[in-house]
């Protein structure tokens, strides 16, 4: 069952290798003058379509900053970044919003569902923002909630759902626009082992259907499922290893 779809339309980048994420010498400095913090000090990273990458590292290493830059929630202080072949530099806030809407799906540690609306409406939100007509929104929202086994909870508000259910709704929402990459920041951090396991299985299943997934995690069980582990320390990539157990991304 491949209802999440796969990268359609999106062309190969000008970087020439078809990488979904292509970064060269990315830097991020917070503050200015004497009191500035170099969160990232020159990151070179290329992630191909279909990879399942875990970004690990101690807190304060810059991995969350890197996630924000990859997701276009923030802009780098220097360096080049292309997302799905499109240079991100110099885009105005509305263009960046469109990129986040169409190309990136976010999953957060604390779920960040909108509390006043139902699970279904949460899943529908990116479609609404993306201008998808109502009938399609209905169909896609229903499919997505079925895919994460929450069809029977679609009219519940977030306060009526458990942590694991909330995170499944969040994943359905992240996949709504069929994005190029799924970005997850500590997705199992607020979950018990069993719910965390469900979420990991869901990520693995998505990976098998060819999705590109990036997770920032401390959770060894989750990073073991990844096909590649990138370790960050002090704003630099310290190691970058393909997982021995993993199959390469499906053709």
């Amino acid at each position: 069952m491949n209802i999440f779809g796969r990268g359609r339309r999106k062309g190969n980048g000008s970087n020439g290798n078809g990488a979904v994420i292509w970064m060269k010498d990315i830097r991020k400095v917070y503050g200015a003058g004497k009191v500035h913090v170099e969160a990232l000090r020159g990151i070179d990273l290329a992630i191909a379509k279909g990879e399942f990458v875990a970004i690990v590292g101690p807190s304060g290493s810059g991995k969350s900053t890197l996630m924000n830059l990859i997701g276009c929630l923030d802009t780098p202080s220097g360096g080049e970044y292309e997302l799905a072949g499109q240079p991100v530099e110099g885009l105005d806030p509305n263009a960046l919003a469109d990129i986040r809407n169409r190309r990136v799906g976010f999953v957060f540690q604390s779920f960040n569902l909108l509390p006043a609306i139902t699970a279904f409406e949460n899943v529908e939100m990116p479609l609404l923002l993306g201008g998808v007509p109502k009938r399609q929104r209905r169909r896609r929202g229903t499919e997505l909630l079925e895919r994460v086994d929450l069809a029977d909870r679609s009219h519940h508000k977030p306060a009526e759902l458990s942590g694991g259910q909330l995170q499944r709704v969040a994943i359905a929402r992240a996949m709504a626009m069929d994005p190029d990459i799924l970005l997850a920041d500590e997705p199992t951090g607020n979950l018990d082992t069993s719910s965390g396991g469900d979420i990991m299985s869901l990520f693995s299943a998505l990976h098998e259907t060819g999705r590109t997934i990036l997770v920032v995690t401390h959770d060894k069980a989750l990073s073991r499922r990844a096909s590649r582990v990138v370790e960050i320390r002090d704003g630099l990539i310290e190691s970058d290893q393909k997982s021995a157990t993993d199959s390469s991304p499906p053709a």
């Binding site: 969350s64 924000n68 997701g71 929630l73 923030d74 806030p93 509305n94 919003a97 469109d98 990129i99 986040r100 809407n101 169409r102 976010f106 957060f108 540690q109 604390s110 960040n112 569902l113 909108l114 509390p115 939100m125 990116p126 923002l129 993306g130 929402r173 626009m177 920041d185 500590e186 951090g189």
Partner: protein, 180 residues
């Protein structure tokens, strides 16, 4: 008018032997002048009441803006989430401006209902035998003042929503979505 008055002083002065330049010899009740004076006082009162009304509207606007600022602050994280999901600026700004306008609109409607109510109540006070009340007359609802206040109220409502909405649009999603 001036000429006629001057002439009267000269004629009567010659007849009753007084100085025609002495203005205190007799008084003149000038109905044109007095009605002009009365009109001026009325205009003065209207301007005064108008300023009070405008200030009240502004205070109301500040109140609505305050509520909207508080609501933006409370919803900062949700706004950050909306931005992460790809909300363009207008998706963030629009609902907040609309909410501010809705509050002022409801306030305006309530004000009109109250005004009609007060006018009906005042209309019940008997005017016969009471000169002061008879002089004030019965209040009526003035459509032109109603329309002008509605327009001012609309403008104030827009501003009261716009400034908080601008605050909302300047939310930095990377900042507010940072995990604690």
């Amino acid at each position: 008018m001036k000429h006629a008055l001057r002439r009267m002083h000269e004629v009567l002065g010659a007849r009753y032997q007084f100085d025609p330049d002495d203005e205190r010899v007799f008084g003149v009740w000038d109905t044109v002048e007095s009605s002009r004076l009365r009109r001026n006082i009325m205009v003065g009162i209207e301007i005064f009441l108008g300023i009070i009304g405008a200030l009240t509207l502004m205070i109301g606007g500040v109140g609505v803006a305050n509520i909207m600022y508080a609501s933006v602050k409370e919803r900062t994280r949700e706004i950050g989430v909306m931005m992460a999901l790809g909300a363009r600026r207008r998706w963030v700004v629009g609902p907040i401006v609309l909410e501010g306008l809705t509050y002022t609109l409801l306030g305006g409607l309530f004000g009109i209902v109250m005004a009609v109510f007060v006018i009906i109540l005042l209309g019940m006070i008997p005017t016969e035998g009471n000169d002061a009340i008879a002089f004030l007359g019965k209040p009526t609802l003035s459509p032109s003042i109603g329309i002008i206040s509605a327009l001012i109220l609309g403008a104030i409502g827009l501003l009261a929503g716009y400034f908080p909405a601008r605050r909302a649009a300047s939310v930095d999603p990377a900042e507010v979505l940072r995990e604690e």
